[in-house]
Symmetry: C2
Subunit: 131 residues, 2 copies
């Protein structure tokens, strides 16, 4: 069971590290034998070394990460919606929901990323400012 404050902090660090390309920081949030499934249905990535390798590549694909709504903290799990604006085309973004399961040491024990082809879309432009 984690507090809401703790959950918000984990998500805040995760997004900050993604935006800074800090793959070692991200890996340090995970437990030694943590499991990643990104997206759901793909091969699982297991253990902190493999996880660091995964994020070393992943951060190269990130132009910017933006939270898209409230972080939900329940028992020892966290769910939150966000978008990844792509480095290869900053006009495209993937809308994702991540689920973290937190262990007794406060580390992420598993991460499951929900997104599919239908969640890759053009970034909505802000409306032009009119006088």
């Amino acid at each position: 069971m984690i507090t809401e404050q703790f959950g918000l902090g984990v998500v805040s660090s995760y997004i900050e590290f993604l935006n800074n390309g800090n793959f070692e920081g991200i890996a340090s949030l995970y437990s030694k034998n943590a499991i990643i499934e990104d997206p759901i249905g793909s091969d699982k990535i297991i253990g902190r070394t493999a996880i660091q390798d995964f994020y070393r590549q992943a951060v190269l694909g990130v132009h910017q990460v933006n939270q898209l709504g409230e972080v939900r903290v329940a028992s020892n799990e966290i769910a939150f919606p966000f978008e990844v604006v792509l480095a290869k085309d900053p006009n495209l973004a993937i809308s994702v929901i991540d689920i973290f399961k937190i262990n007794a040491e406060g580390e992420i024990d598993s991460m499951r990323a929900f997104w599919g082809p239908g969640n890759v879309k053009s970034v909505s432009k802000p409306a032009p400012i009119t006088a």
Copy 2:
């Protein structure tokens, strides 16, 4: 593995049935031995009869349900953010993320609802219209 279109349809039916108080309709989306955990960490509700009883009560607490962002469909799972405006106080809403796991028959085999006390908030009022 489900299609995006199928996933969008399940979520659309689920929200429509919640808004109409149609607890029998909701229960019919679930498999015979489906499991509900709402919120994460609470006792599990197992089987379609118990699930119908759960929603018979739940719909009484619903003033309105609004989708809050994109539905994410991945492999045989669905994640989506929404809010439940409360019947007992329509100025309050709970922001939830639900995860559905779909079986080979296209039924919901499990539902896990992510929300905590920090997700119960005043409904944001639309800005007043000015000339």
